[in-house]
């Protein structure tokens, strides 16, 4: 049985021999999120092959992304980078007419030192489409950090002045029919006559992190209940609707891998960062809201009941996982938040692998993790930065955890050895934020355990030929 140990978090760092997705994978969700964008990945066949296979079916839905595939002439500088990129971007403009072209720099452009940041403004002026450069390469970053590099670059493109008001008025003016139809419905109507009475008077708050639209709505509503108005999201649905960010505005992250974006917003845009735990799990969501409220001097209303209600609604899931152990091999930087949530659910976590640990950006999340461990009376997990997958597999054999959250390279081999796994990538693509989606996280976590309940009597748990 585990015993509470009043120790601080301990951090290890291994060799960095671990499996993760290349950060260029962020185009897969960002091109869908930012509807008027076009992502051009400047790299080799290797990058293209990865994207093509990792994104499976999405490839065929006429994606708004493509490879600028470098050939030998590009590498040896026999071809002129500027001319080549101009040719391709003009083609993209002609065929798709996007509002922004995002160039994704790769390992190759790093090594041959292609000056994308230098070329972009020139080409932008020449073809008349904004070009945003993000260096999301495997030399420097892992998986979800790709989004971080893109959003950090986008942060520079947000307007200073708040066109928010004018946008709002033009919207209502452009939509007189809508007002007509809404006539007689008290709330909406009154809010238009008397603009936003339900909000407290607080400085502008901009949230950053790309989330599916339903989750954006949910989190925005959650803050609205506290009288907090979200002035904008980075990114918005369209590049042309990027939020205005002025000096002194408040910003808050919704995902743990956005440290570069946070830094950019603080240093370049002179924003104030609200360092909060991330709204993953009802405990995280509550802490996130409480932190934002406290910064604005607002007393949060009804969070106790709201959190309790969510916990109660997922009780049948909790029964499945209480007292079980979970091992995070680490590949998408959501690990700390998920581990904290699962500990609160009653699980134990021997190891949290994570590609990169920004102790400053994640400070509040780490503090909440520590506090959660103490309150639940479980041992504090070992946090392993840049893990070594080989060593981890040895530790997994030793510990025999009830669940391993891991990448797809290890999932089937571990399953064949009788160890339950959950693919970590699903947490990146599922809706996991806010009170509303706590159930979805648990649905994922418990799936292998529920599957076992169905199969347990068949005696088929070890399915690998004994090795000589």
């Amino acid at each position: 049985m585990t015993v509470a140990q009043p120790q601080a978090l301990n951090f290890d760092c291994e060799t960095g021999n671990y499996h993760t997705f290349c950060p260029i994978s962020c185009v897969a969700w960002l091109y869908q999120k930012i509807e008027d964008s076009f992502f051009l990945v400047i790299g080799t066949k290797t990058c293209g092959y990865f994207l093509q296979n990792a994104m499976g079916v999405m490839i065929f839905a006429e994606p708004r992304y493509a490879m600028a595939e470098l050939e030998e002439g590009d590498i040896s500088a026999q071809l002129n980078d500027y001319e080549e990129l101009k040719r391709l971007c003009q083609q993209i403009k002609r065929d798709r007419n996007p509002s922004v072209i995002v160039w994704i720099g790769t390992c190759t452009t790093e090594i041959i030192k292609m000056d994308l940041e230098g070329l972009a403004p020139k080409l932008e002026a020449e073809i008349g489409i904004p070009i945003v450069v993000a260096r999301a390469n495997g030399l420097d970053y892992a998986f979800t950090q790709g989004e971080d590099t893109v959003l950090a670059a986008m942060a520079a493109r947000c307007p200073d002045q708040a066109p928010v008001k004018t946008a709002a008025t033009t919207k209502t003016e452009a939509n007189p029919m809508q007002r007509l139809f809404n006539f007689g419905k008290k709330e909406t109507n009154s809010s238009e006559i008397n603009p936003e009475p339900e909000y407290h008077d607080h400085p502008p708050l901009i949230l950053f992190g790309s989330l599916p639209d339903p989750v954006v709505t949910q989190l925005t509503l959650e803050l609205k209940r506290q009288g907090i108005k979200v002035s904008g999201w980075l990114p918005e649905k369209r590049f042309t609707e990027l939020p205005a960010i002025a000096e002194g505005d408040y910003v808050c992250g919704v995902n743990p891998f956005l440290s570069k974006t946070a830094t950019t917003l603080m240093r370049r845009r002179k924003c104030k960062l609200i360092g909060a735990p991330f709204p993953i799990g009802p405990d995280g969501t509550r802490a996130w809201i409480e932190k934002i409220c406290s910064v604005f001097g607002i007393t949060p209303q009804g969070l106790d009941e709201r959190e309790a209600q969510i916990w109660q609604s997922v009780e049948n899931y909790l029964q499945l996982i209480r007292g079980k152990s979970v091992f995070f091999m680490g590949d998408n930087l959501l690990e700390i938040s998920l581990a904290r949530f699962l500990i609160r659910c009653g699980m134990t976590v021997p190891e949290i692998g994570i590609p990169y640990m920004d102790k400053r950006y994640q400070a509040a999340e780490l503090a909440l993790l520590e506090k959660t461990c103490q309150e639940m009376g479980v041992e504090i997990p070992r946090i392993v930065e840049k893990p070594d997958n080989y060593n981890q597999v040895q530790r997994i054999y030793q510990l025999q955890p009830d669940l391993v959250i891991t990448g797809m390279a290890h999932a089937n081999p571990l399953e064949a050895r009788g160890i339950n796994t959950k693919w970590s990538v699903e947490f990146t693509f599922a809706n996991i934020h806010g009170f509303t989606n706590a159930r979805d996280v648990l649905e994922l976590v418990t799936r292998p355990l529920r599957r076992n309940n169905h199969l347990q009597e068949l005696g088929w748990d070890k399915l690998v030929a004994t090795e000589v």
């Binding site: 080799t44 495997g138 339903p214 949910q218 081999p413």
Partner: protein
């Protein structure tokens, strides 16, 4: 620079890794940045492999960029040697290491001193070769290395086996239906009374490679993988090879006759004619199928074919020669070997298309308006868009092309599988077409499946907008659950907040 949305053959290192991971107890170490080990995911997912894929990366990061790999690659090789005691470690360059121009040869030389296992550097240039060419080269390189080594140690067994025997060359991981083809070929050889000496690379041990010269002949079923090795074995050990793909009734017979000739030349008289006759007329259903009324209805229907050399050429011949289907055009993405393809299909189609550009291929399909397509996953999706059925006959492929059931493309059982594939593709198209002509199955108005009576409930504009964001296939369920939730609580107006409250309460 080239604008590309899709590629048919992967990068060179994938080919090398396919060979390395096919052998038993061979480990590959990629000199690559983080994230380039995507091969492991494909192997683990597509082939549902139970074992860890023996591929690791010696990670190229900022430090390597600044100072070079130095000891890192060598350390990784010696470490893997100790951890897994492989027979061979293949150091695999990637596009990144191609440009870094580190002296990987030197690393290999130095690692050899410390490691107990053999160490090789895969000799493939990322910018010159694709996946298929690289696989062919790597297999050749490994075979040559072990035969040279055995030669030096006088360990080569040159004496032929007592009974006629064969090496089957080119079966590899992530190959299109390779496992099933392999089983079918073994079965075929057994029926012909031919012993299988070695199958490479799949499941072979590098220590066994020295036995290769014992075989009477080599069989290379795939055009893309194994020919370099077979030619090398012919030149150096005088082992003849058969490079006729036994796919389709006629080609299978031709392959078997070629084998017969080769065995007879080596002094053992065999006659397979009766076997071919029996199989063709009574065991395989394909010959009978082409005679049956079903197939008669396919006569002169238009089809297009696209894929790798092996499969596209074989399919074109089967469709045109064995089923009387009109192949409007046949194409391949193996540009480097296009002459061979032209030569093979010339008589069997109107036009030949050599291209790696999926947009061009899509246009050719649209222009031809065939009744069915036989192609890769890409063509399947083009077909979906154009509402033309497609049978998948070649890589690139998805998980559904790694079936658990027995589905060879080669040999006599293969002819049955192909007949099903072709027939099902065309009849599906027919059915669709008929439905359209007669205006669908249901001419009466469909009675709604929804349980809800919406009269008492009002969806607000924002609620409805939010509902519409939910993917179609669960929308109905979410709507019903939300309305149930609202009714139970006496809520009349369903807005976005009610929608999500319902989700929280009942997991709608």
């Amino acid at each position: 620079m080239k604008l590309a949305y899709w590629m048919y053959a992967g990068p060179a290192h994938i080919g090398t890794l396919r060979i390395a991971s096919s052998f038993k107890n061979v480990h590959a170490i990629m000199h690559a940045p983080l994230g380039d080990d995507y091969f492991n995911v494909m192997r683990s997912m597509l082939e549902r492999e139970r074992n860890f894929t023996p591929v690791t990366a010696s990670v190229v990061d900022r430090n390597v960029l600044a100072r070079g790999s130095q000891e890192k690659v060598i350390d990784n090789i010696t470490r893997k040697d100790q951890e897994e005691s492989p027979d061979l470690i293949v150091l695999t360059p990637t596009c990144t290491s191609s440009i870094l121009q580190e002296d990987l040869h030197n690393f290999v030389e130095r690692a050899r001193i410390e490691a107990k296992c053999d160490v090789l550097l895969a000799d493939v240039n990322h910018y010159r070769y694709n996946e298929l060419q690289a696989a062919d080269r790597t297999l050749y390189q490994i075979v040559k290395y072990y035969l040279d080594k055995a030669g030096k140690k006088n360990e080569l067994t040159l004496e032929k086996t007592a009974k006629p025997s064969v090496n089957i060359i080119g079966i590899s991981t992530l190959g299109f239906h390779n496992q099933h083809d392999c089983r079918e070929l073994k079965h075929l050889m057994a029926e012909l009374g031919i012993e299988v000496n070695l199958i490479i690379p799949d499941g072979a041990s590098v220590q066994d490679l020295k036995k290769l010269p014992r075989a009477w002949f080599n069989l290379c079923p795939y055009r893309e993988l194994g020919l370099m090795t077979a030619r090398y074995l012919e030149e150096n050990f005088h082992i003849p090879y058969v490079d006729i793909t036994p796919m389709g009734v006629v080609e299978t017979a031709r392959c078997i006759r070629q084998i017969q000739t080769i065995i007879n030349q080596q002094g053992t008289v065999v006659n397979y004619e009766e076997f071919i006759h029996q199989q063709t007329l009574y065991v395989s259903q394909a010959a009978w199928f082409s005679r049956s009324i079903d197939c008669q209805n396919l006569t002169d229907k238009k089809a297009v074919v696209f894929g790798d050399n092996t499969h596209a050429a074989a399919m074109t011949k089967i469709l045109a020669r064995e089923m009387g289907i009109h192949v409007v055009w046949a194409g391949t993405y193996c540009q480097y070997d296009s002459d061979w393809f032209r030569e093979q299909v010339r008589e069997y189609c109107d036009e030949v298309l050599i291209s790696e550009d999926n947009a061009e291929i899509g246009n050719w399909i649209a222009k031809a308006e065939p009744a069915a397509i036989f192609g890769t996953q890409m063509e399947r999706h083009i077909g979906k868009r154009l509402k033309i059925p497609c049978g998948v006959i070649a890589a690139p492929i998805h998980i559904q092309n790694f079936p658990i059931g027995y589905k060879p493309f080669m040999g006599y059982e293969g002819t049955n599988q192909i007949a099903d594939l072709v027939y099902n593709s065309f009849t599906l198209g027919m059915e669709d077409h008929l439905l359209e002509i007669f205006g669908g199955h249901d001419t009466k108005e469909v009675i709604t499946k929804e349980m809800s009576v919406t009269a008492d409930l009002n969806w607000t504009k924002d609620g409805l907008a939010e509902l519409n964001k939910i993917p179609g296939f669960v929308q109905g369920k979410v709507k019903r659950n939300t309305e149930k939730f609202a009714r139970e609580r006496g809520i009349n107006n369903i807005d976005v907040e009610v929608l999500y409250a319902a989700k929280e309460a009942v997991g709608a």
